[in-house]
Symmetry: C2
Subunit: 459 residues, 2 copies
């Protein structure tokens, strides 16, 4: 092989890890709409938000003017534990597809949480510790975010209370045990430890829980216990800010080799990874310095961008959280039971929603059997067993690379590989056994959910 | 932090990945004893071995004179997929222990197989492909080696038949599914697909299998099917050769920073990781160029080095494999049912056995509850959730670092972190729930097993 070629894996030096996060909102002409107090329908003030969130995180949440925010030294040190993450040139995948496209992916799975979630977990734990809190509460579904947070809290000696969707708690005990190993207490949700949990259990005694319900419980636990705050792993502006480390590292690595991507692709559930990956590139686009195609990829069974409404909606089912203006399927929307591929949140980051609304980004919905087929094709040649979530981006990266094969274009594609699928083998088994099916919600089903959107006049 | 200090993670550049394996046998005065044909008790010839193993691997197995062997370009390319692995300075662990010792570990878990096993799997698959074979057979217990091999076979388009110990096949379905995802066929062992399997099932209809039995089945399947050979993930000289990449990378990284370890520690089951890690350092010691303390760490419940006999023994329970001279507990020895921490092989690499016999290496046996305690302490500060096997080395590294704290010595400790524990959460759960116990086999129990050692006069 040519010695001067781009290596398979580009690792930045430790001192090249970014020392500031980039806040894309600073460069947006149309800022994301503010969070609303569900009682008053007025924008949430810093004081109101501080009941739920840590003070400095509230500042970050509301700050849409500062483009760069210093990363505290303690967080920089922790980042050195598992960052920089590699930017990988997918030589093997290019060969497999026989495409003239050049494919790169930023791999965030090389840490025990198995995903990019740790980037924000450590930041949120740090600010909680700095504020002198005892601990934090959160919710988790399959457990990626809960695992990341338990690692971060163990590092800073903070209590970590995780409300885990009951069906995952029972059926996916491995991530639960990882959290316990890191010292977190894990409660199956709904539980009798909160009044919202007790209410839900009274109404639906046999329920196996939902993410929205677990959020409601975690928020209640944080606001009713002295010295606790609630933390969230996606959707929020602060999370996108912390996740910008992904895009900043990727851009630094590409710049070193003079590579400019044409297309940047990320999977989108609440938007944490996609927002983080595209941030610095989007900044260039917003400032008119460069142009890129951005593609958000979501499951066809939970199509917030491609079929949702751009409207104010609740972030949780219990309707205790603020309202956010975003692309949403309605807070009552629950993806079909056959949906195995993650990315099941009904809403979307308000920052990404605004960018999409302003035509700065595209979105594509893909079906899960095609996602798992892409995952296995990728795994066999690139070695990494991807998380189902991440595989949404792989699907579209492969599709774009195959288009290049048809047209002969040598486009450069960058996608985010958010994590590994080691804890998703039940879904892989379903696929391997030919028992996985697709599901696309009908217009009627979505309309029913839209009908329950809160009526908010402000725009 | 001082800019000139050693970074948290030392990554070699891609072009610094070793291009040759190092064969420690070339520098040994007392060579490891040859494998014996169980029927004739004479040294196995290359022709005899070639019925079971690939030709070039047989050459490597028997070669005790060439110090360096070129790594074929295809394997070098595959190595770039997941290598170089990081050499990590355990700053956080040092701080936690408040020790003057400097601790480094070579982390081999950042690949989908979750361990160092891939280093040899890809080599063995490559030579099988080069020989024009259809496929390979092997056995696996919990599935690390089977996973590594299925990844390697997927890459080269080889059939991969894995005999998986039945109890693991049923109780640990996740790694089984990873293997299937990479296209391997996985058969619970004992099975009715081999005559040795059928015999065992007749005798013990309810058996949940053993590694020794799975080996026997895999060897039979390889030798009775046209175009197949058997491959093994540990114990063999060829495996230690391939695994020398671990030590070579570690040494190159340390040399770059002028660091010389005082103590080198590795866990030892069959010896693949330990042998690979220490090889180049042991070479220096054998040539009188440097001195190091080497410590093999094994479970107290399966203490091959510390309580075994140095004798010829069968490598498998079915007694179809050649005899190897090694430290052994007897091929009939089975670790206590409460043993959760891996490293359950009755024997040991003959190369390492010879080095240990010649006083060039030490060995320590540790109990599993202390191993899991070390694992959790490590996980909380270093972020990585270690495999139980790897955690044996962590235990002794921590113990040695604490000795330095007492004496005030600034020793440099290097240990091998062979892999991650994501698929071992059942064992962690047992430990978290306080349900894990220790077990040390009695002298009588071991003597019973020693009494069944084959009577071989050659020495």
């Amino acid at each position: 092989m040519d010695k001067n070629q781009i290596p398979y894996k580009i690792y930045l030096d430790e001192n090249e890890i970014p020392k500031q996060w980039y806040n894309v909102r600073a460069d947006m002409k149309n800022k994301p709409a503010p969070l609303l107090n569900p009682a008053t329908l007025k924008p949430m003030t810093a004081d109101e938000l501080s009941v739920v969130f840590c003070k400095e995180l509230v500042e970050q949440e509301l700050d849409d003017t500062d483009a760069y925010i210093d990363i505290p030294q303690e967080i920089q040190d922790f980042y050195k534990m598992y960052r920089p993450s590699p930017l990988i040139r997918a030589y093997f995948l290019e060969k497999e597809l026989d495409t003239p496209a050049k494919i790169y992916y930023k791999f965030e799975g090389n840490n025990t949480s198995g995903s990019h979630k740790l980037n924000s977990a450590i930041a949120q734990a740090y600010y909680a510790k700095k504020q002198g809190l005892k601990g934090v509460t959160t919710e988790t579904g399959a457990g990626q975010w809960g695992t990341a947070l338990s690692m971060a809290c163990a590092f800073f000696g903070l209590d970590c209370h995780v409300y885990m969707v009951k069906v995952s708690y029972e059926q996916k005990p491995f991530r639960r045990e990882v959290m316990r190993t890191y010292g977190a207490s894990v409660t199956p949700s709904p539980s009798t430890t909160t009044s919202v949990g007790r209410k839900i259990l009274e109404k639906h005694p046999g329920t196996t829980g939902s993410l929205g319900c677990a959020i409601s419980e975690a928020v209640e636990a944080a606001t009713t216990n002295e010295g606790y705050r609630y933390v969230l792993g996606s959707v929020l502006n602060q999370v996108l800010l912390h996740q910008s480390i992904i895009g900043l590292e990727a851009k630094t690595a590409l710049d070193k080799y003079g590579v400019k991507p044409d297309i940047i692709i990320g999977c989108a559930g609440g938007g944490s990874n996609l927002g983080g990956l595209i941030s610095p590139f989007m900044g260039e686009k917003l400032r008119g310095e460069a142009d890129y195609r951005f593609i958000a990829v979501e499951p066809a069974s939970c199509p917030s961008f491609t079929r949702g409404k751009f409207a104010y909606d609740f972030c949780d089912t219990g309707m205790v959280c603020p309202l956010s203006k975003m692309y949403t399927l309605g807070s009552g929307f629950i993806p079909s039971a056959n949906h195995a591929g993650g990315l099941r949140y009904h809403g979307m980051s308000s920052t990404l929603s605004q960018l999409y609304h302003d035509g700065l980004m595209e979105a594509v919905a893909v079906e899960q059997t095609s996602v798992f087929a892409a995952a296995e094709q990728f795994a066999k040649v690139e070695g990494i067993l991807p998380a189902p979530e991440s595989s949404h981006a792989i699907r579209v990266a492969i599709d774009e690379a195959l288009k290049c094969k048809e047209t002969g274009e040598e486009k450069t594609i960058l996608f985010g590989l958010t994590g590994t699928g080691y804890f998703d083998m039940v879904a892989y088994q379903k696929f391997n056994d030919g028992e996985m099916s697709d599901y696309i919600p009908s217009d009627e089903e979505l309309q029913k959910s839209f009908d329950e959107l809160p009526k908010v006049e402000i725009d």
